[in-house]
Symmetry: C2
Amino acid sequence: MVSVPAESSRTRAMKETRDRILDVALEVLGESPDAGMGEIAAAAGVVRRTVYGHFPSRLDLIRTLMERAVAEMTAVLTDINAGGAAADVMWVEFVARVWPVAHRYRVLLALRRGEYGEAIHGLLGPVDELLADLVARGQDSGVFARHLPPAVLSQLAYGAVFALADTDLPDGARGARAATITSLLMLGVPEARAITLVDNRL
Amino acid sequence: MVSVPAESSRTRAMKETRDRILDVALEVLGESPDAGMGEIAAAAGVVRRTVYGHFPSRLDLIRTLMERAVAEMTAVLTDINAGGAAADVMWVEFVARVWPVAHRYRVLLALRRGEYGEAIHGLLGPVDELLADLVARGQDSGVFARHLPPAVLSQLAYGAVFALADTDLPDGARGARAATITSLLMLGVPEARAITLVDNRL
DNA sequence: GGTTCGTTGCACACTGCTGTGCAATCTAAT
DNA sequence: ATTAGATTGCACAGCAGTGTGCAACGAACC
């Protein structure tokens, strides 16, 4: 039993502002990765000084953000891996599960090459490994092409997914479908099979 | 007749330092797009003040850099377009011709989402159009898939090429071949045909 | 009612960058 | 030898962002 710590109205309010800052920061930094603490604070309806009250430094804020995102993605990936399906089916499942929040996590890509690129890279390591393993299994079982080593191919493929999640598709194109097909194609899955896989899942 | 202005040794030397600054800036900014004028100057073996002697502002330097790159790429693209080949053949030719200098031009991608993103986007417009047209023709003639509108698909495909040009391929994988195949795959070209196309060209 | 505590508003010092001014220097041109 | 001009070294102002300190406010808590 986890003792409910009474959640005094103040503690709850404080946690709310903290979460709001994090949510807004994800959004703001996704649009302009160089946004300062002032911008983030303003977008969260709070004064800059308050942000420093919750996160001692800008790096601290970003690290928390990253840990959040990485935790969520690893959870999805380990869950999918437990299913024991074929690699291409797993990939479709992965994109389908990640897509709804992918545009929120475009910050992942935006911040890799940034001021704190080094610190971020460490945090993203687990996710990269899981994806590379998935692609490697797909190559070993013959469903994915071998024109690139798994570590590189996986990065390219999920990079494409996030890039698409960040794009406004002009006509009524459903983004999730297009993103899944595109990534499957570059993984070497034939178009016919890609379409079959996607239409079975979605 | 363009009068040869005698190329006094001084003018030539000055042009050399100017070119060296541009070359080095391309390199430095490619690695860290936020590099300052000081960094660029130091890398060029010159004092910061000298850089300002050639380029009145940082934006001016970057704009010159972009104009250079865009001019080179449009030249390649219009030349290829004049050949009248099929779209997938044209694409292979495009990657083959661009590849040798692609890693120098990773700055194109790095600076799109930057401080001067707006100014850059305008300069890159012509290149984007040429690529989108090429992909659109390929879709119309049935060699490229239609899972995405040409403007988006072309961006993704050449984004993948530049991303690969910026990656150290671990084993002895020839980058140009892998990049061409990967981009062809995501354009919807079947793997067998992609390999045939690439091996015929290279 | 008084206290606690998150929040606010303002202050400040510090850093790192941009862009400019100017005298000094060194070299190619005359 | 003198001059013109590119480069240098240094100084400066300006701006933007970070992180901190502190008094004051206001609402929940006892």
